[in-house]
């Protein structure tokens, strides 16, 4: 039997994408942002892993799918320090940091009196500032910060 410190709590994947260094409390939000219902293959999510940088961190491993730049950049609005690794044959072939995109969709507007919360309309936000995060709703023009993002 391996000593305890050598046991990897989340199994390695052969092909796919690993999103690491997620703050634990944001991990499930990031998961929802990725639209996991659209994925065909297994996804592993781990929370509360020990991390030197973050204290506790989360990891998401997506099997058999390399996430596109557009998909991963959305993560930056919730977890700017996240890293995204593309895995081929158990090896990291590419490792990137995430950058908040100029235009963001797929999250609800936090303003209850915004038209997007009153009738069907796809939300859209413009990046005002990356750190600390400020995004502006294309419709009601209200500024949202990270804590306003509900998923």
């Amino acid at each position: 039997m391996k000593p305890a410190e050598h046991i990897i709590p989340v199994p390695a994947i052969e092909e796919g994408t690993v999103i690491d260094h997620l703050p634990s409390r944001e991990t499930l939000k990031v998961m929802r942002l990725l639209n996991p219902q659209e994925f065909e293959h297994p996804i592993t999510v781990a929370l509360n892993l020990d991390s030197k940088k973050l204290g506790k961190k989360g990891v998401i491993k997506v099997n058999n799918r390399s996430l596109t730049k557009d998909e991963v950049d959305k993560i930056a609005i919730l977890a700017p320090q996240a890293t995204v690794s593309i895995i081929k044959n158990y090896k990291v072939v590419q490792k990137n940091r995430v950058h908040a995109p100029k235009s963001i969709s797929g999250i609800p507007c936090s303003n209850p009196n915004c038209i997007t919360n009153k009738e069907p309309a796809e939300t859209q936000f413009e990046l005002v500032q990356e750190s600390p995060l400020r995004i502006r709703c294309h419709f009601c023009e209200r500024i949202m910060s990270r804590k306003d993002i509900a998923l």
Partner: protein
Amino acid sequence: MTFKGRDIISIRDFSKDDIMKVLETAQKLEKKPQPNLMKGAVMGCLFFEPSTRTRLSFTSAMEKLGGQVLGFEDAAVTSVQKGETLWDTTKMVNNYVDVIVQRHPVEGAARLAANAADVPVINAGDGANQHPTQTLLDLYTVQKEKGKLDGLNIGFVGDLKYGRTVHSLCMAMSHFKTKLYFVAPEALQMPEYYLADLQKKKVPYVVTGDLDKVAPELDIIYMTRIQKERFPDPVEYNRLKDSYRIDKQLLKRTKKDVRILHPLPRINEISTDLDDTPNAAYFRQAANGVPVRQALIALVTGRLS
């Protein structure tokens, strides 16, 4: 950028050139009225919540240009009562008119209507968000009263936290060489992200609670109403409401040619005995709504370019 076919949704979409184009066109129309300019055109005036001033001013603007107006001033008489979405209402009205003017209580409603309509949409107020034609008529007033938009000290007084007219005018003024003064109780001061925006654009500004102190420096005083419902404590409201009141006493301390603007309605923040002084520009400001709205109607429909 050409105005033909363009939606007027937010002052944020206006460059300095755009602003100047609207003001020049308004000035021309005021000097030389064109009673047949909009002949044969129909303006849809869709007011999902009541508004006297804005609706009458738009109607007057269109009719003085020879165009016709149809619409409603109360959502209760429309299919909205039957559950029709704004999207569908706009798609339907789009077939009957050449331009849509819309007032709606929900923020972002104007942007959604513009997405739905093929004809240009002019936002006449969407909830607490934007009211760009008010901002343009404020700018027109400042220019007319002072002969310029550059080199002015402009004081915003009252409810700066929730007042959308203040936010929009402040955004528009940042295109010009100006110094801004924000005079309000701490609880109603300018939101931090507007101040951050001014810093980014290197627009000098002063944040203060003391109107008496800064009054002598101002060329324009833009008064707003302090709304009672914003205060949890009525005693606090009573204490503050009178600290931001302009009367003859205060006028003794200001520049002689200071101009007082107010988006109206006023409660008691401007003493009525100032109404007849040349400093009181607020009724002239309301009248300026007509040429400015005429200019916008004519530009977006392509009758003027």
